[in-house]
């Protein structure tokens, strides 16, 4: 059973986009160890011959016809926006790559 370091948890928090405090990272690292120790039990019975199930339903090919239906109005679409401008969602500067 591998134990999680604070740096591991910090990396997970980065992937999950949560700006955790150092204190939170520490306590979470401890809790994660306990929880992972418990949930790792699944490995006891998960042998290679068992097929995984990702979904309880046996459904296949559920689709909808290619038909346009009315959209929200822009006012409705933007109604919950923390900020908007020119009928667009206004967000702080994006530092990532250009799309």
């Amino acid at each position: 059973m591998s134990s999680l370091s604070r740096a591991d948890v910090a990396n997970l928090a980065r992937l999950a986009r949560i700006d955790m405090t150092d204190q939170e990272l520490d306590s979470l690292a401890t809790e994660m160890d306990v929880i992972l120790g418990a949930v790792a039990r699944v490995q006891e019975v998960a042998t290679p011959d068992i097929a995984p199930t990702s979904h309880p339903l046996p459904l296949r090919n559920v689709t909808r016809p290619d038909v346009v239906e009315p959209s929200l109005t822009p006012e409705e679409a933007l109604s919950g926006a923390p900020a908007s401008e020119d009928q667009r969602f206004r967000v702080p500067q994006i530092l990532g790559e250009e799309a």
Partner: protein, 498 residues
């Protein structure tokens, strides 16, 4: 009037004894009187409820044909979106958000003339078993205000037990309808996965979530089940076949010749003595009513909890990624020069509660490269094994039964700092979600040691939900004749009602 069943209220409206507006007003007054103690509601929509009630009264006056629950008030768990009505999921991150659309369940309730009183409290994003994880404070169990009402749908069940509403909608991912029902002495049903549309149900764990009816009687639950169930083209995981005949089953309550399987693994160690004695008593009632009691074994159920705490967090880590301060909800830290990324990270830090963050981190880990197979992948295999256990068990029995929850309601704060102890509350309810089948909890008495309600769980194969209603109705009838009055008649009076 407010202590009657929804079915009785409906009859009273049909006979002209009361109007929907009068009935709705009585419930709104009850909420005003007692919700300071119970805190079942996050939002009460007085105006919307009264106008829906008036619309039903007007339709009735015009002689229109109305559904069986027209004009009956209902409490809606705050995880289902209702157009224009605040929807928070018990989280700060959605504070103030008013959705621009209705969940399919809400549309069906509105079409059936059901009066939606307001939104009920819950563990944040339905993650919890006590409603203590709500960002807006805990809900109190009307049986004992110092105790939890179960979770995540503690608000919905508490509102029933406190006579604030005769009907409620819950959602059940690992037991969030059934366990609150058990500890509040009410009825709660998780229908077959795909039986009720998830469109507009804010997702916690998409492959496990299912909305369902909460009520004070089995028949009321069936009537509500009939209103909200059925195929929805907006949900690709919705089952396109007729709704099981749940109302007829609840009315007949016939279990003669039925084989009832007691799941060996969901009893014994870890189950409170009073929970066990009530369970045995219930089995005797069912046997007396003509059912055959058999024992079945589901050896892989012991891994269900572990698998659940990998699958649900994995899915939630992805489902909750959309709460990023860009399009709706909370935005914190948007000062001069702040980047979208820093605002996102900071908003998620302050907007999510501790348990939600814990599960997001756990799920992020379980899905990350290098760990995927060992955790998420293995959990999916356990899911296969659990489904096989059910398939085998259902060759020996028509329904399976167990106690719903291993204990009665515990004290608020008692398990708040021990996630693993908290997770154990769902040990008996989780296998049902993993397999996508139906599960019901019916009140089967008070535990002698603490005089708190206990629940009896009934599980049926996929799309055989009517079997649970037959068994539930039979048990309810036997217990009613034993007690002479419904269990909730024993609930202590709330201060606000005096």
């Amino acid at each position: 009037m407010i202590t009657r069943s929804a079915h009785e209220m409906s009859s009273a409206m049909v006979s002209g004894e009361i109007t929907s507006q009068e009935l709705t007003k009585k419930h709104l007054e009850r909420i005003s009187a007692v919700d300071k103690e119970v805190h079942a509601f996050l939002h009460v929509d007085t105006e919307g409820a009264m106008s829906q009630a008036k619309a039903v009264d007007d339709a009735r006056a015009r002689g229109e044909k109305l559904g069986p629950l027209a004009g009956v008030p209902l409490a809606l768990k705050d995880v289902l979106v209702q157009k224009g009505i605040p929807t928070t999921c018990g989280s700060k991150i959605l504070e103030g958000w008013r959705p621009p659309y209705d969940a399919t369940v809400v549309t069906r309730l509105k079409n059936a003339g059901v009066v939606i009183l307001g939104k009920t409290n819950m563990d944040e994003f339905a993650m919890g078993s006590s409603t203590e994880n709500s960002a807006y404070g805990p809900t109190h169990n009307p049986w004992d205000l110092s105790r939890i009402p179960g979770g995540s749908g503690g608000g919905s069940s508490a509102s029933l037990a406190a006579f604030q509403a005769p009907l409620a909608i819950g959602t059940d991912t690992g037991g969030s309808i059934r366990q609150p029902a058990a500890v509040t002495g009410t009825v709660g049903v998780k229908p077959t996965y795909g039986g009720v549309s998830r469109y507009g149900l804010v997702a916690f764990s998409s492959s496990l979530d299912q909305a369902g009816p909460c009520a004070r009687t089995v028949l009321d639950a069936a009537l509500l089940h009939g209103v909200i169930a059925g195929h929805d083209p907006k949900d690709a995981t919705s089952i396109d076949s007729p709704v099981p005949q749940v109302v007829a089953a609840a009315r007949s309550g016939d279990v003669k010749g039925m084989k009832i399987g007691v799941v060996k693994e969901l009893n014994g160690d870890g189950y409170q003595a009073g929970v066990r004695s009530r369970f045995e008593e219930s089995l005797e009632h069912l046997a007396k009513a003509g059912a055959e009691i058999v024992e079945v074994s589901c050896p892989n159920f012991e891994y269900a909890l572990a698998a659940y705490y990998l699958i649900a967090p994995s899915e939630c880590s992805s489902n909750l990624a959309r709460f990023d301060a860009m399009r709706y909800g909370l935005r914190v830290g948007d000062s001069d020069g702040a980047s979208a990324e820093s605002v996102m990270n900071f908003t998620r830090e302050v907007g999510f509660g501790r348990e939600v963050k814990r599960r997001i981190i756990l799920g992020t880990y379980a899905l990350s490269s290098g760990y995927f197979d060992a955790y998420y992948g293995s959990a999916q295999k356990v899911r296969t094994l659990i489904m096989q256990d059910f398939t085998n068990a259902f060759t020996k029995a028509d329904v399976l039964v167990s106690p719903t929850s291993p204990t009665t309601a515990f004290k608020i704060g008692e398990k708040a700092n021990d996630p693993l102890a908290m997770y154990l509350n769902d040990i008996a309810t989780i296998p049902v979600n993993m397999a996508g089948i139906g599960g019901m909890s019916v009140p089967n008495g008070l535990a002698p040691e603490d005089n708190l309600p206990v629940g009896f769980q009934i599980m049926a194969p996929a799309m055989q939900d009517q079997r649970m209603y037959s068994v539930g109705a039979s048990l309810e009838a036997s217990l009613l004749s034993q007690w002479g009055a419904p269990l909730l008649s024993k609930i202590p009076a709330l201060a606000g009602s005096k």
